[in-house]
Symmetry: C2
Subunit: 244 residues, 2 copies
DNA sequence: CGCTGTTTTGAGCGTCCTCAAGAGTAGTGG
DNA sequence: CCACTACTCTTGAGGACGCTCAAAACAGCG
């Protein structure tokens, strides 16, 4: 399945107004004034649908655009010579995909939809052009990149000196916080990814992830049944994340 | 020791020409034409010396500038409530420090000099202004941020699914490659950091790092004596990094 | 209803951590 | 100049955490 074959263009809406988007408070035009937003006109080149399991882009694809997630859920992963996949992140609505491609003008990871999704295609040339014109857009774009760096550093700490149960707790806590920002419940969530995907993200095997969920369940911190996770004791969860 | 007390200004050279800098081929003005470089005038606000062991900035400091390393060597680390420090990177001449601060206008890590160092102070406001004016500077700045993201993802893979010896091998290989870019020998290096700092960077204890060095020494891949490391078998080193 | 993929759980083992001791090195002051 | 101290690094022994291998339960789907 090539990238082209999953590309779709909503007829008659090739140019889409960020001003009307419900995700404005999370996305790239965050800091922009109403006036500027109206003048913005065309940050988004088009929209594109990506079916569950399909790739938005793949390692080696020419870098031409970044993508703002309008709806759905993605993972990014590093391809590897051996079979070992490394998931580098899970992304949800309002988050931006593809920033890794700027450095070499080539994508250096795969972005795969974990459910049927829709993204706004933001051509990088256009983003460069508009962020010279709108200082708020420029700043917000820099912030988005900077936040990714900060998140990655947090992830390095997690992988570097936290034990398995702390990693899983941090993973759940992070998901709930991001869901809350989007107006969803912070105590009940449905995982969009397998135990294996969580495992390669957290530097653990799928069995260890499963065992950690079971232990958190038995300890009354979470109620876990397959993909359904309910946070019973948020305080205990946060305490676990702090570490020893 | 406050940040202010280590600040120094070279008299009469408050504005410094990137055009004349030997690190141009690595640093922010990389893509800029001779003409633009001459017109650039003042990307660098001033220079600042940082003595070994002192912090260039600390977690919580107000973010006002990024720093291009002119000479010396730094580590960045996440402060933590418990004693556990997490080193998030080692930086050398031509590399840029402080990008984490953009997202919250506050620095979110400490940058500590591992030897007497000198940095170019690039006020962020100035960088924003100039990168609206010079598209090459804009693009190079984006590339620098993107490269940091890519590097961090590589680090996540290292921490997530490589064993101790592979991590140490990757660490040495990375250092040699970056030193070679700067015109230094790729087969002989002097470590600027302790085993403990390497350990917290690689998600290992200092003892494990030491043992890995000893094993790589015994296997004839490296010659290691304290901080002095010589690469005897570069091919074996690369093979180790690939993983199993 | 059988097939497939995901998840759970168990048993045994290996890598790396913890704790400990000792050697090597650098810096300081008598 | 050399003790003295502080720090770094090396090496060893024992143990724990998480991995590997294996099997079975469970859910989804044609």
């Amino acid at each position: 399945m090539t990238a082209r074959s999953v590309r779709m263009r909503t007829p008659g809406t090739a140019r889409i107004a960020c001003a009307d988007c419900s995700l404005r408070s999370l996305c790239l035009p965050l800091l922009m004034s109403e006036d500027d937003l109206k003048r913005l006109d065309a940050l988004v080149d088009s929209r594109r649908f990506v079916k569950r399991g399909q790739a938005l882009f793949r390692t080696g694809d020419r870098f031409e655009a970044v993508y703002a997630i309008r709806a759905g859920f993605f993972k990014t992963r590093l391809a590897s010579t051996d079979g070992q996949e490394q998931v580098t992140g899970f992304q949800m609505a309002g988050e931006v995909l593809g920033l890794d491609g700027i450095s070499t003008e080539m994508h250096l990871c795969d972005a795969v939809a974990l459910e049927d999704s829709e993204v706004c295609v933001i051509r990088y040339g256009q983003l460069e052009f508009l962020s010279r014109k709108f200082t708020d857009l420029q700043r917000q774009f820099h912030r988005v990149m900077s936040r990714e760096i900060v998140n990655d550093h947090g992830m390095m700490r997690l992988l570097g000196n936290r034990r398995a149960e702390e990693r899983v707790a941090a993973f759940v806590l992070d998901l709930t916080q991001r869901l809350r920002l989007r107006g969803f419940s912070a105590s009940s969530l449905v995982l969009r990814m397998t135990r294996e995907e969580i495992g390669t993200y957290l530097g653990l095997t799928l069995e260890t992830v499963s065992r950690c969920f079971s232990r958190l369940h038995d300890d009354g911190v979470l109620r876990v049944h397959r993909r359904q996770v309910d946070v019973l004791d948020p305080t205990a969860l946060e305490r676990l994340v702090e570490g020893p």
